[in-house]
Point group: C2
Chain length 353, copies 2
């Protein structure tokens, strides 16, 4: 059975060890420099403190300074760092990887350098050593998958994506269990754009929680589902546009990576909690510093990571701003502490894909 290294012992990295060990694989779970406490707790009592789940016997925990040891004979590396950890991971893995060892990214996000938007596997590749940068075999997994539910072996449906169908088939066979349902797709751009952007639109849906708290439930009991749904729809509209612009396929939009992942991410979580503060009228920088200083808000991280590049591409006419009013609103909120105001009149204004 393959020996598999998971780098990143957060919620998703650790949850991913469950289907792997259920399939009999040997897993080495390597914490990042931020995960040392977690690795320590797993060593001591076998339980991941945030996942609230017993780590399976087939998982050996490592601190990141022992990554070299963990990588011995590794046949697959799974990257479970957060979106800001990709450069760090490239530095750490660079000396230890080879093209024979595929890297499967759980990490979601996009990068922008002021002139181009990039999916995260490309950002990782850019950080790898010259000697095998082009040959590195990178795949990714996306779709609606809350880590705690995967860890509890609840039915989860995801898409494994990469350019090489035979590699996808091989990896899917390693990962698939009766509760972990896996499809494959060679539309890596479409999948990665969908699963990155869902975070910023889930943050937008989260605003409604704050709006509702401010206005209150109506006399007839009405809340604000219509508003959430309109924001959700505008989000999927914008994702559809960006997937097309960046060269992905629409099938990823109206299946698990787009509609499915945006749905699950809009049901709560950290994006939703931050969205509530923003909807209540607290500027982003204040809400982050005062209420969620320790939390990674993936939707906000994404807006910050791609915001300046998106604005530059719009001003150069390479992206059509009419198709991205909600993304631009969220960028303004996160990057410039703009007030949370829904740009109704600009919704659905661009040309459809």
């Amino acid at each position: 059975m393959p020996k598999i290294v998971i780098l990143g012992a957060g919620l998703m990295g650790t949850a991913f060890s469950i289907p792997l060990t259920d399939n009999g694989h040997e897993v080495r779970l390597v914490g990042t420099h931020l995960d040392s406490d977690i690795i320590e707790e797993i060593h001591q009592d076998g339980i991941h403190p945030r996942l609230r789940t017993r780590v399976p016997k087939g998982v050996t925990p490592y601190t990141y300074d022992r990554l070299g040891k963990a990588m011995q004979d590794a046949e697959l590396v799974v990257l479970g760092v957060n979106s800001m950890g990709v450069d760090w991971a490239a530095d750490m893995l660079g000396p230890l990887l080879s093209p024979q060892i595929p890297v499967l990214m759980l990490t979601k996000g996009m990068a922008g350098d002021g002139r181009h938007l990039q999916i995260l596997p490309d950002a990782l590749r850019a950080g790898l050593p010259d000697r095998y940068r082009d040959a590195a075999r990178l795949v990714a997994i996306g779709g609606p998958s809350i880590a705690g539910e995967l860890a509890a072996r609840r039915h989860s449906c995801v898409v494994l994506t990469g350019p090489d169908q035979s590699l996808l088939d091989k990896l899917a066979a390693i990962l698939r269990t009766p509760y972990y349902h896996i499809w494959t797709s060679t539309d890596m751009i479409g999948v990665e754009v969908c699963v990155a952007l869902k975070n910023v639109y889930a943050l937008a849906v989260g605003l409604v929680g704050g709006f509702l708290e401010k206005e209150g439930v109506a006399d007839n009991g009405a809340v604000m589902h219509n508003l959430s749904a309109a924001i959700f729809a505008q989000g999927l509209w914008e994702i559809s546009y960006l997937v097309k612009q960046l060269g992905g396929q629409q099938r990823s939009v109206y299946s698990l990576p787009g509609a499915g992942d945006q749905y699950v991410t809009s049901q709560g979580g950290r994006n939703g909690r931050m969205g509530r503060w923003l909807g209540l009228g607290v500027p982003y920088s204040q809400a982050k510093a005062e209420y969620m200083p320790e939390d990674t808000i993936e939707g906000a991280e994404l807006a910050a990571a791609i915001g300046p590049t998106v604005e530059e591409l719009v001003s150069r006419g390479e992206l059509d701003g009419d198709n991205l009013p909600l993304l631009r609103t969220m960028i303004a909120i996160v990057c410039h502490d703009a007030p949370a105001k829904i740009p109704w009149d600009d919704f659905f204004a661009g040309k459809a894909v």
Copy 2:
């Protein structure tokens, strides 16, 4: 200001009077043969009992036997009956309508005659008198709009659809308010297929409520959002396929009528309540008779209305069953009391649109 007749004094028909009267229009709200109690209560104390909202002063309530009187000088008819009431409405309105009076349908659904699927405006048209059947100007409205929220003047975003853009523009101007945001689309097939089918997929998402109750919350607190999201995504995938097969446009799928309306309908309501019973293992016929005898379950009504036709079209090869596993599962549940079992292996199996 136009005089407007709303036929059907249920939740949505009545809620629709709020933006109309806010815009200063004169509204005549005509109850169906099932709404007589509601009309009586509105007469007595001015409040719609189920909407829990005061009916505006500009609304005059009528019982259906006085439809002829209500129709005097009417400039627009709004149809707010439920999906089973379309033939009845055609019979009632037939002698009173003319091509000069547009009919705006709030009613959602589809019809099947064993050989063809039909959107509801076409079903209504088929029931109108020969003398103006072809000339009747039918439009429809769709999108995420819970009636109680519209009645409470909460932001709601919808699409007004029909073949004639100038009529759409004119009607949108009559309807639009600062809280009722209206877009127009000439893709009537796409919009109508989306807003009809969302009900059956919301019923499918609702199954998860029952599954969760049966299995319970996991030790680590995990529920079943991943599962809901996968079902949601498969629903949108199937909607995308059916919209294409029936001649509609994909833009309706990833905007308000598809993604938006399916989102809001999946957040609860009667489809969700019935879905829970089915997910708990109660056969549909028993759940309907014992627990929801008085409720219209739009998702189940749709499955019953189109089920035999869908199965016939699949067997004739005119629809690809591989693209409709979830719809066929829901049809089997509703029409044949089949058990609620998710056909994982068949998800996302067909060719993408």
